[in-house]
C-alpha cells in the first residue's frame, strides 16, 4: 500500500480529536477510581446526560453552547454527588465488584429512561455560530469546532492534573485516599471531599458530553458505545493514574485513527488488542504501580 503523507497527517489529526474525548472521559474515571476506589460504570450515562443537559438548556431555556459548557457539568456533577451521598457511600470498603454492579445498574436505568422518552436516533444539536466553518490546512479541511475540542480538552486535562498532583487540595485528597483516618484527625472533612471528588469526575464526563453534542447526535446510547473503549484506555494507562490516562487517551485516539486508514475493519477492535498486549507485559498498565 502506498502511503499518502497528506492523508496520513489528516488521519493523525482526526485521531487526536477522538483522543481528546477518550482523555477527558478516562481522566474522570481515573480520578474517581484513584480517589474513591470505585469503578464507575455509570460514566457513559453521565456523559450522555451532559449532552442532553446542553440540549435542554438550548431548547428549553434558550441558553447557548457557551453557558451550557459551564452549567451542564455543574448540574450533572450535582446529580453525581447525590448519587454518591445516597448510594455509593455505602459501598466504601467493600469489594470493587459491588461498586461496579451498582454503577452498571444505574447506567442501565438512566439510559433506559432517556431511551424511553427520546428514542434511539437522537436529537440534533448545532455547532455554535462562532465555531462554524473550517480552515484549509493544506493536507486537510479542519472543521474549527474539532480544533477547539482538541485545545479545550487538553487545557482541561492539564488543569485537572495540576489540581490533583500539584495543589494543597490535591495533596489532601491523595492523603485522604491513602489514610482517611489520619487525614480526618487533622480536621479535614474526608466524606465531603470524597463527594466533591466524585462530583468533579462526573462533571468531567458531562463536559465531554457537551463537547461531543455538536459532533455526534445527542443520543441515549452515546455513552454506552464509548464507555467500553474508555475503560480499555484506563486499563492500558494504569487504573487511577491521572497523567497516564491523559496520555493514553490521546495516543489511543491516534492509533485508532491510523487503523481506520490502514485497515478500517479492525478499527473498533484495535484498542482491545492493545489492552491485551499491555496487560500481558505490564499487568498494572503502562504507568500504574503494582499493588
Amino acid at each position: 500500500m502506498s502511503i499518502n503523507l497528506q492523508a496520513l497527517s489528516a488521519q493523525l489529526l482526526v485521531g487526536l480529536i477522538n483522543g481528546s474525548f477518550y482523555a477527558l472521559l478516562s481522566l474522570g474515571l481515573a480520578v474517581i477510581f484513584g480517589m474513591l476506589n470505585i469503578i464507575n460504570f455509570a460514566h457513559g450515562a453521565l456523559y450522555m446526560m451532559g449532552a442532553f443537559c446542553a440540549y435542554f438548556l438550548l431548547n428549553g431555556l434558550g441558553l447557548s453552547y457557551w453557558p451550557a459548557l459551564i452549567i451542564a457539568p455543574i448540574a450533572v456533577g450535582i446529580f453525581g454527588m447525590i448519587l454518591e451521598r445516597t448510594m455509593l457511600k455505602w459501598l466504601t470498603g467493600l469489594d470493587h465488584l459491588y461498586g461496579l454492579l451498582l454503577t452498571f445498574g444505574l447506567a442501565l436505568i438512566i439510559q433506559g429512561i432517556f431511551q424511553n422518552y427520546f428514542g434511539s436516533s437522537g436529537l440534533p444539536y448545532a455547532i455554535p455560530d462562532q465555531l462554524k466553518g473550517g480552515m484549509n490546512l493544506g493536507f486537510m479541511f479542519l472543521p474549527i469546532y474539532r480544533g477547539w475540542v482538541v485545545i479545550f480538552s487538553l487545557v482541561v486535562c492539564l488543569l485537572t492534573w495540576y489540581l490533583i498532583e500539584r495543589t494543597q487540595l490535591g495533596a489532601y485528597l491523595r492523603a485522604a485516599t491513602e489514610n482517611p483516618t489520619l487525614v480526618r484527625a487533622f480536621g479535614i472533612n474526608v466524606p465531603r471531599m470524597i463527594t466533591l471528588t466524585y462530583g468533579l469526575g462526573v462533571g468531567l464526563a458531562a463536559l465531554a458530553g457537551v463537547l461531543s453534542a455538536p459532533i455526534n447526535q445527542v443520543r441515549p446510547l452515546m455513552g454506552s458505545d464509548l464507555i467500553i473503549v474508555v475503560f480499555a484506555v484506563v486499563v492500558i494507562g494504569g487504573m487511577g493514574s491521572i497523567m497516564g490516562s491523559i496520555i493514553t487517551g490521546f495516543s489511543l485516539g491516534i492509533i485508532e485513527g491510523l487503523t481506520k486508514y490502514f485497515y478500517p475493519e479492525a478499527s473498533n477492535t484495535v484498542v482491545f488488542v492493545l489492552m491485551v498486549l499491555v496487560l500481558l507485559v505490564k499487568p498494572a498498565g503502562l504507568t500504574g504501580r503494582a499493588t
Binding site: N18, S120, A126, I215, D225
Partner: protein
C-alpha cells in the same frame, strides 16, 4: 405375530391421527416481532413495529370472527446468534406462526434459514439485502417493504443520471452494506458510471471523520452511504462539518428513513435524495393510518416504511388466513396461498408477491424539504418521481432464486 404387527400399526395410526389432529387447522395465531428494540435501528423499527402489528390485528377484523391472535416481541440486538436463538425458542416453545419485521440483514438471513428448516413463516420488512429473494430465497419467506435493488435503482440511478458518474462508498461492514454496495455498483456501472473506491466501517460507528476524509480525498463526485440508521445520521452530520457538500461532492444516502431525517433536522438533511416505498403524507389512506399510529407512539413519531411494511405484510397474511378459513400451521402452505392473492392496502397500494417471495409495489424518489418549505413537524419530503413496481425490484428473469428454476 401378525396380530402384534397389526396392533402396532393400529396404534401408530391412531397416534399419528392424534398428532395430525392437533396440528390441523384452528383459529389460533401467534406473531413474533423480532427486531432491534434498543440500538441504532430501534427508531426505524423497534417498538413502532410492534404497534404496527397490533394495529394490523385490530384492522383485520379476525378477532371478531372468533380468531385468537397474539403478538410477542423480542430484541435481536442486531446479532445473528441472538436473533436465531430467540426465533428458535419462539417457534419450538412458544409456537409462533409468523416472525415479522427482522431488520439487520445479517440477522434476517440467519432467521431466514431457520424458518425454512422449521417450515415457519418470515414476513421480512426491515432487512435490506436483496439476497433474501435471490440466492437465499425460500418457500417460507416473503420480503415486503424494500431491498437493496430498490435503493440502488432509485437513488443510485437518479444521481448517476444527473451527472454523478464517479462514486466512492462508505459501507457498513456486514451483509446489508455489502449487498447495497454491490447492487448500487451494478446500477452505476449500467449507466456508464464508475466506482473509484470504497471503505468498510464497523456497524454502529460514532465517528466517521477518518472515513469521510478518505472519501473526500477520492475526489469522487458522489459519496454513497451504504449504511443505515444511526450510522447514516452520523455520516451525514459529520460530512457537513467537514465541508464535503460545500466542496462540490454529493452525498447519496442510499437508505434513509424518516426517523433519520427527523434526527438530523432539516437544516442538515435538506436537499438529500432518498428512495422509500412509503411516506405518511402520500395520500388519504397513508395519512389516516399514520395519524392513528402516531397517537400510539410514546415519542409521537410518524411511521417509517419498515413499520408500515410490518402492518401491510400482516394485513395480507390475515387476509390469506381468512380466505383459508383456518390456520393450518404449515408455513410453506400459507406462504403459497399468500402468493396467490394480490396485495392491496391503503399503505402500499396494489401489489403482488412474486414466486421468489418478493412483494412488489411502487417506490418513490423523495427529496428532503428545506426549513422554509416544511409546514411543521414530520413534513419532510417532496415527491420527485414514482418508480413503478416493475422497475423498483429485481426482474424475475434476473433473480437468482433457486425456486424459480423448477
Amino acid at each position: 405375530m401378525n396380530k402384534k404387527i397389526a396392533a402396532f400399526l393400529l396404534g401408530t395410526t391412531v397416534a399419528f391421527g392424534a398428532i395430525s389432529g392437533a396440528m390441523a387447522g384452528d383459529k389460533v395465531v401467534k406473531i413474533g416481532v423480532l427486531n432491534d428494540q434498543s440500538g441504532l435501528y430501534a427508531d426505524l423499527a423497534g417498538p413502532g413495529s410492534v404497534i404496527a402489528a397490533q394495529m394490523a390485528i385490530e384492522d383485520s377484523g379476525l378477532t371478531k370472527k372468533g380468531w385468537k391472535i397474539d403478538v410477542i416481541s423480542g430484541d435481536h440486538q442486531n446479532k445473528p446468534d441472538i436473533g436465531v436463538n430467540l426465533a428458535r425458542q419462539w417457534i419450538d416453545v412458544d409456537k409462533v406462526d409468523v416472525i415479522a419485521d427482522v431488520p439487520t440483514s445479517s440477522v434476517a438471513l440467519a432467521v431466514n434459514n431457520l424458518v425454512k428448516e422449521k417450515n415457519s413463516i418470515l414476513l421480512d420488512s426491515g432487512a435490506g439485502t436483496s439476497d433474501l429473494t435471490n440466492s437465499q430465497c425460500t418457500p417460507n419467506t416473503i420480503h415486503w417493504t424494500y431491498d437493496t435493488y430498490t435503493l440502488a435503482h432509485g437513488t443510485g440511478s437518479a444521481l448517476t443520471k444527473s451527472g454523478g458518474n464517479t462514486w466512492f462508498f462508505l459501507t457498513a461492514d456486514y451483509a446489508f452494506g455489502t449487498a447495497l454496495e454491490r447492487d448500487t455498483t451494478a446500477a452505476v456501472n449500467a449507466l456508464g458510471g464508475k466506482v473509484v473506491g470504497s471503505v468498510k466501517h464497523p456497524l454502529n460507528t460514532a465517528d466517521f471523520s477518518s472515513f469521510l476524509l478518505q472519501a473526500q480525498a477520492s475526489k469522487a463526485k458522489v459519496i454513497g452511504l451504504a449504511n443505515a440508521g444511526g450510522d447514516t445520521v452520523n455520516s451525514i452530520k459529520q460530512a457537513s462539518e467537514f465541508g464535503i457538500v460545500k466542496g462540490g461532492q454529493k452525498l447519496a444516502a442510499l437508505l434513509m428513513f424518516i426517523s433519520d431525517v427527523h434526527a438530523l433536522g432539516l437544516n442538515v438533511a435538506n436537499g438529500l435524495n432518498m428512495t422509500e416505498t412509503f411516506y405518511w403524507d402520500l395520500n388519504d389512506g397513508t395519512r389516516a393510518f399514520s395519524k392513528r399510529f402516531q397517537e400510539r407512539m410514546k415519542n409521537k413519531a410518524m411511521p417509517t416504511m419498515v413499520q408500515a411494511g410490518v402492518y401491510s405484510s400482516l394485513i395480507h397474511y390475515f387476509k390469506t388466513l381468512d380466505k383459508l378459513g383456518e390456520n393450518p400451521h404449515d408455513g410453506a402452505k400459507v406462504v403459497a396461498a399468500m402468493k396467490e392473492i394480490p396485495s392491496d392496502d391503503p399503505l402500499f397500494g396494489k401489489g403482488k408477491i412474486e414466486p421468489n417471495g418478493r412483494n412488489i409495489h411502487d417506490a418513490y424518489l423523495f427529496e428532503v424539504k428545506s426549513t422554509s418549505e416544511s409546514k411543521g413537524p414530520w413534513d419532510y419530503y417532496k415527491l420527485v418521481a414514482t418508480i413503478p413496481a416493475s422497475e423498483a425490484f429485481t426482474p424475475l428473469d434476473k433473480s437468482t432464486c433457486p425456486l424459480l428454476k423448477k
